[in-house]
Symmetry: C2
């Protein structure tokens, strides 16, 4: 059995997130996908379209995580500088990947041909492999433990799909949720005590306010199904004993 914890980081590259123009959707889908691979998303950074900022984040995060994913900045326009920045971080040159060129030639044969701008999307940090893009033309890029993905979420979804099962991971983190119409402040001690009583379990408490009422969802996480089940059973019993009604699966 493989008990070590495998970790990943994500770098979201793009002024459009930092300006507030677009709300990121890639982090949640990459996080969810990583869980299934038995890899924990440990940290995320959003950086501007500025080479130094990308280089700094890439070099710190690739060194202290098993895997590093980037999203954004791999299109054909002047603001797409991800490949150059990652090559600079790695200390390698940038080259046209012959297979990427062939893919783009095929893709654009009915779309006006492969122009210089479009050929930019065949550029990779020297020594890289490609990640299949099932949605459109330009492929993603893998270099060592770095995975360079698109900014457009459905394209990244397709790239993740093609990577499924290819990355070594550990035990998937399992989770179960109990919802309750209770102010979390009323049961804070109960939650802490329940977490301490079940080794290797984390309980997250996520309050909400709906229809004029206060409630919270409690998410229990563990890599061991039996431990998870025992914790959920105890937490449900403790809530019921306190006079609240636990809602399995959350509210």
């Amino acid at each position: 059995m493989n008990d070590r914890i495998w970790t990943a980081a994500v770098i979201v590259i793009g002024d459009e997130i930092l300006s507030g123009r677009i709300q990121d959707k890639n982090v949640a889908q990459i996080a969810t996908w990583l869980n299934v691979q038995g890899i924990r998303l440990r940290e995320v950074r959003v950086v501007p379209d500025v080479q130094d900022a990308i280089v700094e984040a890439v070099n710190i995060l690739r060194a202290r995580n098993d895997y590093l994913f980037t999203t954004g900045g791999i299109g054909p326009t002047h603001d797409d500088i991800t490949v150059d920045a990652i090559a600079a971080a790695l200390g390698v040159g940038v080259e046209i990947h012959p297979e990427a060129r062939a893919i783009l030639e095929r893709y654009y044969v009915t779309r006006g041909g492969l122009t210089d701008a479009r050929l930019r999307m065949a550029r990779v940090p020297a020594g890289a492999d490609l990640i299949e893009n099932r949605m459109s033309g330009a492929p993603g890029i893998r270099h060592g433990n770095i995975f360079i993905m698109a900014g457009v979420p459905h394209i990244t979804a397709g790239m993740l799909d093609s990577l499924t099962g290819t990355l070594e991971g550990g035990m998937p983190v399992l989770s179960a949720t109990i919802g309750c119409w209770v102010a979390e402040s009323e049961i804070a001690d109960l939650l802490g005590a329940t977490e301490r009583a079940h080794e290797g379990v984390q309980i997250g408490s996520y309050p909400f306010f709906r229809e004029g009422r206060t409630g919270a969802n409690f998410v229990v996480r563990s890599t061991d199904q039996a431990v998870l089940d025992a914790c959920i059973t105890d937490l449900s019993a403790a809530l019921a004993e306190g006079g609240w009604t636990p809602v399995p699966g959350g509210i």
Copy 2:
């Protein structure tokens, strides 16, 4: 006139974002609010509910930005460690803020009273001031250039509202958008040339695929309205000249 660029960073604290369970909504609203204050969001980090990770991010980001905002981890439960982590980063103790205690006493007088768990929400890094919470009980916290906000987006929205106009900033970044039913790869050169021809302007290109067609929105940013207008006029003319129809305001 104040030409210097004021910057901010955001740290999103929370396992719920890294697990993919919740999609962050605070970054976009803080970014949009900062723009209006004349402050640019320069970087974002998402860190787990782990003290060392919070301390590292706080100390790096508060030193190199004018302002640092954190979201999440200020509730009453065992997984809310933001105040302790920031106090550790600052090298100060944690104390009960008397005004925060009074606010909580008033808030909970009709809600079962101020328990020990609820009193946790009056804890602040020593020397901090409060940020008004117009939505619920527990206030936000300001310590120097650090602003400690809630995780729940509508509560943070209220806190931002109460901070409006109180932070020194520079010239707001203005932006205007042109949409076009064109593959961005067809006009990559045109975009780059237009950006270079207008000093101090950034043009972002954001492609999309809708209703079976390829399009893109081009967002032009500048702190100078006249420069922005001139760039938009030129870009629209160049698109029209190429046979495409620019859509003011975006698609």
